[in-house]
């Protein structure tokens, strides 16, 4: 890449690749050199680099290319990279985007992020150390994320006297390990990043090596032909500037389409034909993978954001349950049963993990039994969504087979998933149509069904107030039912303990039972500590369409501890009861409960009467 080369036509387009290696394998040095030798580094940056090399460098008098890359202040001080950084360089043949991901143990999440958009991964190994546990881990993650092209860059060859046998042994070790991972190609290349041997130009010090240089390989590697896949088009935006134009804007996720081709909208199963492929630069005859276009169609069909348009001859999956690999990103562990937002293409739905089948040991590829996933862990699980969605297995189409999970309370991106296959069990169990309509049973009782969901600390007064309320309503001739947490745990939920996962299941079952009782036309009163907001929200969703009133029995912890009717706090403080709410497990107070009852200095009957007033106001009882 001589300076002043003609304007790069980049005939090969963009190649996105990922670099990974263990700390000190020379990743930063390698990228720094690639940037330098492709003239992506400007003279003023070189000047700073020269100065920095003297001050912080590890290479003596020479330039330390690794210093070019460190980004954020605190990382620079620690001299480790802790996030994904993107770098850019180009040659007359191709433009490159490098996702630079750290080799640090706990950063699976960064590598997965970088890998999700990469066409190729460069795995770095130190020639003196050979294939390490980390190398295997990187290869495994690359394979899970569907990267087909692997380059094994055997670095620091200068430190093993450019020994051929060492290189070949490492290449062989890796090939043996990577065989089952399903890569399309694994290419081993010997280099010295520090001295530049075989990075961009072949080296006289490697006379025995006749393959391409690292850059030569990156410039010429062929990627698969994405245009051959079946057509997939997630509708991102419905474009309706006036009554005469209605177009579906989006990016072709896979395959290609031409004017006149048939199209099918997954879900509604309505089909039509492509009328125009509209762009600002004029209409096109055809659009292929990655093209951001706007389609107009021949028939009026109801399509909105999040819908998937497909080739009718090769439909996508459509289901509300599927199996997927899931990578966990949040400090808070995965809670099976809890609902998260799931975003796939332009579609967002609610979803929960119904079964965690196993956790993957990323060092060995082995499967471990697990009840949850912690930060940076990968598992294989079944998920269920609150409505059917259209998708493909990730192996067939990345863009329509990948999803993220979002924590509904913190909005953090909690995890990322790759769908393996659809589960069609749900469609075998048809909903039994109820011949007595919704609300009829309650009307017969002269009331509306409702669920009064009490929440509060142990000893707050939930059961006391709930019992008074139950009795009063009964005396008013109302039809009620009381579900008390302690009692339910003796029967329906006696198999459950107090781990987070079991607590979620406890609430889920209680909410389902409450819902059934609601369908029977009852006013259901439940008294469960239900400490987590997310779970109460789940209960509310399960219980819909009945009126749902969250009743926060608000008693300060000190007061509960003072009351301690069952002596539980004393035991918990002594360490005899683990995971006790308020002691070593949190209580997340409601922020928007329909009713908040402060019990200190109040009378239980008066509080029960307040609830009855509220029920009258809401016309649940007359």
């Amino acid at each position: 890449m001589p300076d002043g080369a003609p304007i790069a036509p980049s005939p090969q387009g963009l190649l996105r690749f990922l670099t990974c290696g263990s700390v000190d394998d020379g990743k930063s040095t390698l990228i720094g050199r690639l940037l330098h030798e492709s003239a992506a580094i400007h003279t003023d940056q070189m000047e700073t680099l020269r100065r920095d090399s003297q001050r912080f460098g590890t290479t003596g008098e020479e330039i330390d290319f690794s210093l070019l890359l460190d980004g954020l202040e605190d990382e620079r001080q620690q001299r480790i990279t802790i996030d994904v950084a993107y770098r850019f360089f180009s040659t007359p043949r191709r433009s490159f985007i490098v996702a630079d991901t750290p080799g640090h143990e706990q950063y699976t999440r960064n590598m997965a992020t970088g890998a999700s958009t990469a066409d190729l991964a460069v795995l770095l190994v130190d020639a003196r150390k050979g294939v390490l546990v980390q190398t295997r881990r990187h290869a495994l993650i690359a394979s899970l994320l569907g990267i087909r092209q692997i380059v094994l860059a055997v670095n620091k060859l200068d430190l093993v006297d450019f020994d051929r046998a060492t290189f070949e042994r490492i290449a062989h070790d890796f090939a043996a390990f990577a065989g089952p991972l399903g890569f399309a190609a694994v290419t081993a290349i010997p280099i010295s990043a520090r001295f530049g041997d075989n990075v961009t130009a072949s080296s006289p010090r490697l006379p025995w090596y006749s393959g391409p240089t690292l850059l030569g390989h990156l410039e010429s590697v062929e990627l698969g032909d994405a245009a051959a896949a079946p057509f997939r088009f997630p509708v991102q935006w419905v474009n309706r500037p006036n009554l005469d134009f209605r177009g579906f804007a989006g990016t072709v996720a896979a395959g290609s389409i031409a004017v006149g081709d048939p199209l099918l909208a997954m879900g509604s199963d309505r089909s039509t034909r492509v009328k125009e492929i509209v762009t600002f630069d004029g209409n096109l005859d055809r659009a292929g993978p990655g093209d951001a276009v706007t389609l107009t169609v021949a028939d009026e069909i109801d399509v909105s954001r999040g819908d998937l348009l497909v080739d009718p001859a090769a439909r996508a999956e459509y289901a509300d349950q599927f199996a997927a690999h899931l990578i966990w990103f949040q400090d808070e562990h995965l809670v099976p049963g809890r609902s998260y937002w799931l975003k796939l293409g332009a579609k967002t739905v609610l979803a929960s993990v119904t079964t965690l089948k196993h956790r993957i040991d990323i060092n060995t590829g082995g499967h471990d039994a697990a009840r949850t996933l912690e930060l940076n862990e990968i598992g294989f699980c079944n998920l269920s969504t609150n409505a059917p969605i259209a998708f493909d297995p990730y192996a067939k189409s990345h863009e329509t087979g990948a999803f993220i999970l979002i924590d509904r309370y913190t909005n953090e991106t909690a995890g990322a998933g790759m769908i393996a296959f659809a589960l069609h069990r749900a469609s075998n169990i048809e909903w039994q149509a109820l011949t007595i309509g919704p609300g009829e049973r309650a009307r017969q009782k002269g009331q509306q069904s409702a669920i009064l969901w009490f929440t509060g600390l142990s000893g707050a007064g939930k059961s006391t107030i709930a019992n008074r309320l139950d009795r009063k309503l009964h005396e008013l001739g109302r039809h009620t039912m009381l579900l008390d947490g302690d009692n339910v745990r003796h029967g329906l939920n006696r198999d459950l303990g107090f781990t987070d996962t079991d607590r979620v299941e406890n609430i889920r079952r209680a909410a389902e039972v409450a819902r059934l009782m609601g369908e029977a036309g009852l006013i259901v009163i439940t008294a469960f500590i239900s400490p987590f907001r997310a779970d109460r929200r789940m209960a509310r969703e399960i219980a819909s369409p009945h009126a749902f009133l969250e009743v926060f029995v608000d008693t300060p912890l000190e007061e509960c501890q003072r009351r301690d009717p069952k002596g539980l706090y004393a035991r918990a403080v002594a360490g005899a009861i683990p995971n006790f709410t308020g002691i070593d497990s949190p209580y997340e107070a409601p922020e928007d409960a329909e009713l908040r009852l402060e019990t200190v200095g109040a009378d239980a009957d008066a509080l029960a009467d307040r609830i009855i007033d509220e029920l009258r106001q809401r016309h649940i009882i007359g």
Binding site: F88, I404, T413
Partner: protein, 314 residues
């Protein structure tokens, strides 16, 4: 020129866009559409520079034949080059887009300016504070910016959808991982998003794209004879009579151009013969100086850009 006329010109263009630029264009359009669909009140930050010109052009493409479903916001410090303001107004009129111009009136009343107050305070009050004021006043929940990851080391890790907490603070630890093209756009009250569709473009990509698409940019990018004085190793243009000359300093006419544009007393020009886009591209390819070199606000300290970002600078 009307949109239709724009299309005619585009259709007349011979050369198809090179594959890498087409990929970058597609990606940016996808990002613009996603943000427009997910946020209730987005706005496009328009700095009048070349990146903003590209961003605006992409916004016209993304929503065609509709107009972009958001207004354009310019933070006017009152110290921009006169040519920038003229270009801004002409562009808004030509494109027919809703332009909001905001100036920090309070800062103006306090007499904040780049000369007496210094670049750091001026930038803080007239740019950073002004931007926050404008976003808050109009209730914008997302703002598109033309920033790129190649501009500076600390930007290499910036997200495409970059979340800002209350007070528009940027917290590097709160940024969300971005996988595939799936962006988590959820906000809590008080939070806003900055969205950078050009994240993966380089300076060279921007110029190549401008050339291919025939996008108009402010003439200050092209070498012309301009009245300048030399200060701190760079050329400062005497754009109006507000720039106090130091004793013995007289403006001279030099052939200069700008690589980045901002407030004229803070924007260094370089001597250059590059009078066309093709010249600029050739100059860039010959390596040279990084574009931030001409931005005086960065020279305050090594990691100063990152600190500014934490304070809410774009």
């Amino acid at each position: 020129m009307t949109l239709a006329a724009d299309i005619l010109i585009n259709a007349a263009r011979q050369k198809p866009l090179p594959a890498d630029l087409r990929q970058l264009e597609n990606e940016a359009i996808g990002i613009l559409r996603e943000a427009a669909a997910e946020f209730s009140r987005p706005v496009l930050m328009y700095s009048v520079g070349k990146d903003s010109s590209v961003l605006l052009h992409l916004a016209l493409k993304a929503f065609h034949p509709a107009k972009p479903p958001f207004p354009v916001l310019h933070i006017d410090t009152t110290w921009k080059f006169r040519e920038m303001i003229a270009f801004r107004d002409a562009t808004a009129k030509r494109v027919g887009i809703d332009l909001i111009v905001h100036t920090n009136q309070e800062g103006l009343a306090r007499g904040i300016n780049p000369i007496a107050s210094g670049s750091a305070l001026h930038t803080q009050v007239m740019k950073t504070e002004a931007l926050k004021q404008a976003l808050d006043q109009h209730g914008f929940d997302a703002a598109f910016g033309g920033a790129r990851r190649d501009e500076e080391k600390s930007r290499a890790k910036e997200r495409i959808f970059s979340i800002r907490g209350a007070g528009h603070m940027w917290n590097p630890r709160a940024q969300r991982p971005e996988l595939w093209h799936l962006f988590n756009t959820r906000l809590r009250p008080g939070e806003t998003m900055r969205v950078f569709p050009l994240s993966n473009w380089t300076e060279l990509d921007v110029w190549r794209y401008i050339e291919h698409e025939g996008i108009e940019v402010v003439p200050l990018y092209f070498a012309r004879e301009r009245p300048v004085v030399q200060r701190g190793g760079t050329w400062i243009m005497v754009d109006d009579d507000r720039l106090p000359l130091e004793p013995g300093e007289t403006p001279e006419i030099r052939r200069v151009r700008f690589r980045t544009l901002g407030c004229y007393p803070l924007s260094g020009a370089m001597e250059s013969g590059a009078a066309t886009i093709a010249d600029i591209i050739a100059e860039l390819r010959g390596a040279g100086v990084s574009e931030r070199q001409g931005r005086l606000i960065d020279s305050d300290g090594e990691a100063s850009m990152e600190r500014k970002k934490r304070e809410g600078y774009f």
